[in-house]
Symmetry: C2
Subunit: 287 residues, 2 copies
């Protein structure tokens, strides 16, 4: 009886693997672990640029205070901050030219979006449909405003509300694109070795999945690299001395965003949230 | 008679100087040649970042073709490209939170703007009112799309129309902010030595004004510095080698935007257009 039940278990396991392989064939094969890594590495530059650009402006608190909004907008009464108003409006404008046709882009306010006026573009279908909708936008939104923004901006109000909000939007979208790319990361990892993931997915074992998607050495490389990028991109480039590469602490004060803040941003938020997206995606990967 | 006419000329000259000084007292004194230079130097970083971010995407030609727009928008019939639609919409959204209350910001489509919902911010009044409206937005628009964009993007269509258009907007606004800052540059130069400018302004002598606002050695420093910034900010930062500072030509191919393109962008367009703004501003400085 023991032997026949283990035979059945093996058969079920094989059936799942076969099923996974079949689905894989129906999805695009244009994604590899290398292309995923390239995307994430390039996105680091975008995130660091966006933080440096946001740090041009002081905190500009009226943007984040719901009572600053003099007019009542038709959608959300008095309860909306200026920055929320701006992001909702901007996402509508971006949706109009097809932003969210690309599965890499995840809106913060999907309920507001308008129909695109652009010709449909045939994006390759990489994500498993039942898992594609995983998102942590609400968490990114609250983490950005509550935890991150006060760490890399100085206090004060300079009146550049629109430029500041546009910089916030750039930061939010870059972070969201990176974190939600966890769906693509998970898809590639799953395809590379479905046999490793299927038992944990079937058991809904989040701890086992967390272990599978974690590589501490790789994460440390990423954190060190973004710290280095903040030092290189955030320095004052002049012609009379070689560009500082971030090795010397003496000039650290001159960086537009403290590199150690970017290191912690990745370690405390970007990487953990990406892994949550990966795990939630994997949990739906066999649905 | 010769002596009395030269006395009158001197008196008129002094009157103009006095008049200029009076006006100067009514305007904000919070601007100096040093603060102007700091602004322009920081804006170089923004321009280089925006070009690098635009270069992430291929040219994406459907954005620039009026016939790509499937829907007729209420403002501009069939004749509008997707990118124009996007910029018009975006400027309206930005105006709503007060973008163009700041005299540093100049819209591309001022006729479309909505009334701001933000509390008015008391920006310091630096510009001479009769000259503040000088603008070269139409030139920046056509130069950007016709001359610049094809130089730093690769051919192709990847469907990321919204991200591409948002990057175009960031480039356009950074260039516009820099070039229209020529008004502030001219104001500071005029205040520093009105006696040098008044005769040329009264004679409407553009050549003389061009000579006054030109410093070839300073311009060469700026061009070399933006080239260096393109090399530093556009490199692939890795942990296993010191960051490349742009001195070695061997790795030039790896830059996200060719530094020599940025050098020429400044030399052929940004600096000359800024000087046109300065001259047009000065010509109205005594109105």
């Amino acid at each position: 009886a023991a032997s026949s039940s283990s035979t059945i278990a093996i058969l079920i396991h094989l059936l799942f693997c076969f099923n996974a392989l079949l689905l894989q064939c129906s999805l695009s094969r244009g994604i590899t672990l290398e292309s995923v890594r390239d995307f994430l590495t390039r996105e680091e530059d975008t995130i660091v640029f966006s933080l440096i650009e946001r740090a041009k402006y002081p905190y500009n608190s009226p943007l984040y205070n719901p009572s600053s909004c003099l007019k009542v907008d038709k959608w959300f009464g008095n309860s909306c901050s200026l920055v929320e108003l701006f992001v909702r409006d901007s996402e509508r404008v971006q949706a109009k030219i097809g932003s969210y046709q690309n599965p890499e882009e995840v809106p913060f306010f999907p309920e507001d979006l308008t129909w695109p006026v652009v010709p449909p573009y045939n994006f390759s279908k990489v994500l498993y449909p039942a898992a594609a909708s995983v998102n942590v936008s609400d968490t990114i939104w609250s983490v950005y405003f509550k935890e991150l923004l006060p760490q890399f901006t100085v206090e004060g109000v300079d009146g550049n509300f629109a430029s500041t909000a546009a910089s916030d939007l750039a930061c939010l979208q870059a972070l969201s694109r990176r974190i939600h790319y966890g769906r693509f990361v998970a898809e590639v990892k799953f395809r590379d070795s479905p046999q490793d993931y299927i038992p944990a997915i079937r058991a809904k074992d989040r701890d086992a999945l967390m272990k599978l998607v974690t590589s501490e050495s790789q994460e440390e490389i990423v954190k060190k690299r973004v710290e280095e990028k903040a030092a290189v991109f955030g320095q004052d480039v002049t012609l009379d001395r070689p560009a500082d590469t971030g090795d010397s602490n003496s000039s650290r004060a001159a960086y537009k965003v403290d590199p150690s803040v970017v290191y912690r941003l990745y370690g405390d938020w970007v990487i953990p949230l990406t892994k949550i997206v990966e795990i939630e995606y994997l949990l739906r990967r066999l649905d």
